[in-house]
Symmetry: C2
Subunit: 444 residues, 2 copies
């Protein structure tokens, strides 16, 4: 048998999975390598963190999705290094995978802006583990408030701070408000969950900075109506066991809060850095690699970068954002270029991102959406959000389940996945508050 | 306000939760204390372990279940000690809870028959964490087999041993066979999952020892038909990273198996031991406490024991088994006795267990059931099992979801919750096989 063109894809997120699927009928051998055995529907992660969905409901096993695609194999492994001249990717366990074409879709990780020690106190929403750690933190805080010995202690347990008012921050804040005001309404005897204080802190002058200004205004109004306190132009200077310290103008303030959630920015992963180093590629402040118009790394026409790691400029001259649509379209484009080259096509059109719009959900029947320049806020934006997300969830099964779960929740305000699990479920009753995020994430 | 009769319930499993619910209209103050914030539908745990259901789908938040029961409060905490003379329970964090009546429903934990070091290599099915650790182990084994460098290594990854052929062992073996033969059928390129070897080891002379002999025979036939090798009269003498060593007659044999699951016996928890010590109560070999006919501890008429910790003899003179029905009926009985005492009733009838039957599911359309002396095996037993379990699942929402999930799975052989999560999802690629059960349980 002839040796077919070998395509290696790193990462099974939106970019990598779509690239693999678009290679279905090509005469190539595809190897998809991911650290995890599942594709995750990231846009619904906040629903796992807030107890609406179980991780299994927003995940689809990569092998399952690709099982009928005979030219494709899936491997569990983590890319650690690359030799772009020998055309080989090296995994963490030392195994080397030679490629003819490489699609790098390894994504990004959470950036604490150089303060990695904050991670212990303020988990972000990047992995399933962190999402369940957040779920644990939120539910556990109410439990501790119920058992608190002083008013002050109870208050600290009932104060929730979300740092970053992008789409993720808004979604978390809105869901948290709903948990406090509705889901847990009748569940406690000593505390009143509705007295929980939820603060959304943003460094910039407005919430939802990626949206047009009028939607920022409407978004802030919607989230405030749910009882969330929005603080703009604040700079967080410290996060620890006791809460948050932040600067507002010249003032330095401290807030006692046992639960802090991080919805800040992202940065390149270790492998992304390695790749930039090995290819001497140009990167931006957050480590994204500048690519050619055909999404290849300058000087290495066989290496494509798609998704969060890719620095590609849109028509407005601004870098394309790290959202699912950019990754999906980038993955499909890279697959098309590879297929075209094999067929001997010469004229490759540059990648053009087709912006279908931008949405953020804030609460029940409340969202903002910017679709082809049409600005929506409130119920209709929410219905649009609902429709789009149901359509996109990868596996049919999950789509049905999520729909049932949501329908039930909408009618009853209940949340189905309210588990506090892991060693820390009980251990941490004896420990300083908020510790052990990692073990707190056990068990979902 | 007058001080009402204080009922403290330890444990929110079948026994404790039912006791609490049966106290709904009583003029008492109920405090339900559990280490977890959720009630778990234990009989379906094996479906979490085998990737059919998410933990959230078999769990119901205790606060949610009891939120409308105004005389009841739920607290997150773990009982560590008891002072039966001062009538106080002491939690692990030092907090003391005085009671007028106490219902102990703290259950049991897995017994490794004195070989606790086996736990690291052979998780059992007692907690959500362990169930997801098992899920991880099973799925991960196939991934490693796919990447194995030698035939021998692949073979060890594709060999699964289940120790103990009671209902849990049979359920695990059957589900595992289905995963290998159907779910993963098309998912790999180098290995053939259908070549996986699944062994079910039992110390006694027959499987399902708690069932009548003819059902043992039928059960063994059903599970063998799925491709499971049943080994009876074997004594496991060692479990470690490489596999299992066992005695069969005078022979000592070793089997290379990277995945070993423990479906052995149970033993009293630490609190159970403490309670026996403080009340000088009689216990049996596995630490169960002998109770009076009214389920109270001899000499302490205000302390009831229900569920797995209770040693109470049935009409046949044998101890009642550690199954959900015994706990449910015991909990309801204890609540009734307490209510009766408050109303001044003197003649308390002794507890009588009403045996509704015993069931074990083996695979698709395959189960055995012993219902009021009627012995069923095969499809009809399975339909009965399905019906009974759907009815019993605590929360309506979960019932619907489980039903949708099962329906889909039955039609497609797919499994919705096939996540390998936790630090170890990637870390352990570099580590000795099977290590780190604890961290492997992260993320579900």
């Amino acid at each position: 048998m002839e040796q077919r063109h070998r395509v290696v894809i790193l990462g099974g997120g939106f970019g990598g999975l779509n690239a693999a699927q678009k290679m279905k009928r090509a005469r190539v051998d595809v190897t998809l390598i991911d650290r995890r055995n599942f594709h995750l529907f990231q846009p619904l992660m906040y629903q796992v963190a807030t107890g609406s969905l179980s991780p299994g409901e927003i995940a689809a096993p990569l092998r399952g999705v690709l099982s009928r695609q005979k030219n494709t194999q899936v491997l569990l492994g983590e890319a650690a290094d690359i030799d772009p001249d020998a055309k080989r990717v090296i995994l963490r366990d030392g195994a080397a995978f030679p490629y003819d074409s490489l699609i790098v879709a390894t994504g990004s990780k959470t950036s604490y802006y150089g303060n990695d020690e904050w991670r212990e106190w303020a988990p972000s929403l990047k992995s399933v583990e962190e999402a369940t750690a957040i779920r644990h933190k939120i539910l556990y805080a109410f439990e501790c408030a119920e058992r608190a010995e002083t008013e002050e202690e109870a208050r600290a347990w009932l104060t929730f701070v979300i740092v970053g008012a992008g789409a993720t921050g808004m979604e978390l804040a809105g869901a948290l408000a709903e948990i406090a005001n509705e889901t847990l309404k009748n569940d406690f005897r000593r505390i009143n969950p509705q007295e929980a204080r939820i603060l959304l802190m943003e460094g910039g002058p407005r919430v939802l900075p990626a949206f047009p200004e009028d939607l920022s205004t409407k978004g802030e109004k919607l989230v405030s109506k749910l009882g969330v306190e929005v603080k703009k132009n604040v700079m967080v200077t410290c996060i620890d066991a006791d809460g948050v310290t932040y600067k507002f103008g010249d003032e330095l303030k401290s807030l006692a809060a046992k639960t802090v959630l991080w919805a800040g920015g992202v940065i390149a992963t270790e492998f992304g850095k390695k790749l930039a180093e090995r290819t001497r590629a140009e990167t931006d402040r957050i480590g994204r690699i500048k690519v050619n118009p055909d999404l290849t790394v300058p000087g290495f026409p066989d290496i494509f970068i798609v998704g969060d790691l890719m620095l590609s400029l849109g028509e407005d001259g601004k870098p394309l954002p790290g959202v699912a649509q950019v990754a999906i379209q980038g993955g499909a484009y890279a697959a098309k270029v590879i297929r075209g080259r094999l067929e001997g096509k010469k004229d490759v059109k540059p990648f053009r991102y087709f912006d279908k719009g931008n949405m953020a959900v804030i609460g029940r029947a409340a969202a903002v959406a910017d679709i082809f320049g049409v600005h929506l806020a409130g119920l209709f934006a929410w219905l649009t959000w609902l429709f789009v997300h149901l359509i996109y969830i990868v596996e049919f099964q999950n789509r049905v389940l999520v729909f049932v779960q949501w329908g039930f929740e909408y009618l009853t305000f209940s949340r189905g996945a309210r588990l506090i699990t892991g060693d820390a479920a009980t251990d941490s009753l004896d420990r300083p508050a908020g510790r052990n995020i990692k073990s707190m994430g056990d068990g979902r």
